[in-house]
């Protein structure tokens, strides 16, 4: 090989290596900067920061529990609504529908994921919130009002609406991954089941069983998205740092407290408190996403699935 070839190869490879290393560097610096900037509150409040229920920036009282609670509950509502629907869509698209109608439907479901978060928020404020106030909330109050979940002041802006909007947003994501996972289940499995006399639905159940860890991965991935979703939730959840059993009441999530307050936080301790909750969200979503990836890989091993991320 000519001399320019080997020198060129080395230079080229080093340049590519640097670009790849930049990705690792970004994450490393990200963790460093966030830990550094949240040191004031970590020092002052320690672990109590995460369990404190009072959030009064003016009095320098910072307890993040209402935000952690709001984040978890709104994400759970989203999963409860979204998982069955996503599974249904994926089963329909992969196992039942003829390709001719499955392709356009799959594309339209994917388009739901292309709509920006702030647009869901706008739609949430002016369409979904009135719907919850006038119809859905009234219905739940009438039939399930004996549960503390569905009592209280019904304004349409609150935890329930936040959870519903999250459900709409994560449905295309969960659906896409579950579709991938189903398609990774070998056709021979379906043929074997059918040959043994199983009905179509029984065959689908076998596919579901084989894909179960991948489905779990899809759900965890959806959870990761729901935990960190910001704009739409901020616009409809009511932004009030309280812990209430009622889903009609306003709440606050970690992401929404950041979106609503970060620009105004000039006081050093206040800023540190916000960065620390950001750090908590960062670490939680990092672990959740890593877990999702491992679960999905266990089914789709060797098949690229980055296109759905």
């Amino acid at each position: 090989m000519s001399q320019t070839g080997t020198v060129g190869d080395k230079v080229f490879r080093v340049i590519l290596f640097i670009t790849a290393a930049i990705i690792l560097l970004i994450v490393a610096v990200m963790i460093f900067m966030m830990v550094l900037n949240s040191m004031p509150t970590i020092r002052q409040f320690g672990f109590g920061f995460l369990t404190g229920r009072e959030w009064k920036p003016a009095l320098s009282e910072f307890g993040a529990l209402p935000f952690i609670y709001g984040t978890i509950v709104s994400s759970l509502i989203a999963l409860i609504i979204s998982v069955p629907i996503s599974l249904g869509i994926a089963i329909f698209l992969v196992e039942q529908a003829p390709k001719k109608i499955a392709t356009p439907i799959a594309f339209m479901v994917e388009l739901l994921a292309a709509i920006p978060s702030v647009v869901y928020g706008l739609w949430g404020i002016f369409v979904l919130a009135p719907f919850v106030r006038n119809y859905l909330g009234v219905f739940l109050e009438n039939y399930l009002g004996w549960l503390p979940l569905f009592q209280g002041r019904l304004t349409g802006i609150g935890m329930l609406t936040g959870g519903i909007i999250l459900a709409l947003m994560i449905t295309p994501i969960i659906t896409a991954v579950v579709r991938d996972v189903f398609e990774a289940v070998p056709t021979t499995q379906r043929e074997a089941a059918l040959a043994l006399g199983a009905t179509k639905w029984e065959t689908t159940q076998i596919v579901l069983g084989n894909a179960s860890s991948g489905i779990a991965g899809a759900v965890v991935l959806g959870l990761g998205r729901a935990l960190g979703e910001t704009m739409a939730v901020t616009m409809v959840i009511g932004n009030s740092p309280q812990i209430s059993a009622s889903l009609f009441e306003p709440a606050y999530t970690i992401a929404s407290v950041l979106a609503a307050n970060f620009a105004e936080a000039t006081d050093r301790l206040y800023l540190s408190a916000l960065i620390e909750i950001g750090l908590v969200l960062f670490l939680v979503t990092f672990v959740v996403n890593a877990l999702a990836k491992l679960l999905i890989l266990s089914v789709t091993r060797g098949r690229a699935s980055a296109k759905h991320t």
Binding site: F17, N37, F126, T230, A255
Partner: protein, 263 residues
């Protein structure tokens, strides 16, 4: 069971159609030329989103200029030299970085750029968008390059071409269409981002062509109009949304049309 699963699919499509028709109907009534070129004004005096469109375009361009070379470089590395622990680590970290809430990227850039500079700026906004773009472009590039058949590499190597020539002149051109569609989707994605711009680029009421000053964007402007108290602001939010969603859907549908043979 088929009825039930089909109902799920119909539900998703109905939601999509409801959202899109609200945007179309409410947006179209407030759009006019003045709205597209004017700057925000006090309520009652009209106003528009001209500076927000300019700001969004400038920050998206900056993000693309930074994110594209790094993302494509990292993608090529992972595909061509990445079958070792370092490659796997970059791949894993990229995937997790894609899933990290974009508001966290905003906080990161705030601590890294805004605090030292002492003010919010278009530069900070563009950098935040670039960080969102890099892992997406990297993973798409890797996937597309892995689709290029090995026989092409071998043929070029057998003719005596050095490896960098093979990648630069044979592999990258072969994968370019796929990479381009991936880049288009990444641009569509960052042009809809709001959270990372809220406290990095902040907002501005004026036309601003300098990256060291706070910069307006379509998405942040939509957020402000939507959460404002007046009906006229809400109308402007819908109109701005029509522009934004129109752009994003056009990119998505165009990419889909161009790549239809591969799916």
């Amino acid at each position: 069971m088929t009825t039930l699963t089909a109902a799920c699919a119909v539900f998703a499509i109905v939601i999509l159609l409801i959202i899109l028709s609200y945007i179309a109907v409410r947006g179209i009534t407030s759009i006019n030329l003045e709205f597209l070129v004017d700057t925000p004004k006090p309520v009652g005096e009209g106003g528009g989103i001209g500076n927000a469109i300019v700001g969004s375009v400038m920050m998206t361009l900056l993000a693309t200029l930074i994110g594209l070379p790094i993302g494509i470089g990292a993608g090529v590395y992972m595909a061509e030299f990445g079958n070792n622990w370092f490659g796997s680590t970059v791949r894993f970290i990229s995937d997790t970085l894609i899933g990290i809430p974009s508001i966290i990227i905003g906080i990161f850039i705030y601590t890294l750029v805004v605090l030292p500079m002492g003010r919010q700026s278009g530069l900070a906004g563009g950098l935040a968008l670039a960080i969102i773009m890099i892992p997406i472009v990297a993973r798409t590039t890797e996937e597309m390059i892995r689709l290029v058949p090995n026989s092409m590499r071998e043929a070029a190597l057998a003719l005596g071409a050095p490896q960098w020539r093979v990648i630069w002149n044979i592999v990258l051109p072969a994968a370019s269409a796929g990479i381009a569609t991936g880049v288009m989707l990444a641009i569509a994605r960052i042009s809809g981002e709001t959270a990372p711009l809220l406290f990095t680029a902040l907002n501005s009421r004026f036309y601003n062509y300098f990256f060291d000053q706070p910069m307006s964007s379509l998405t942040v402007q939509i957020y402000n109009y939507a959460t404002g108290p007046f009906d006229i602001e809400h109308n402007m939010a819908w109109a701005a949304t029509l522009i934004l969603v129109g752009l994003i859907l056009t990119i998505n549908i165009a990419v889909r049309y161009l790549t239809r043979k591969r799916f």
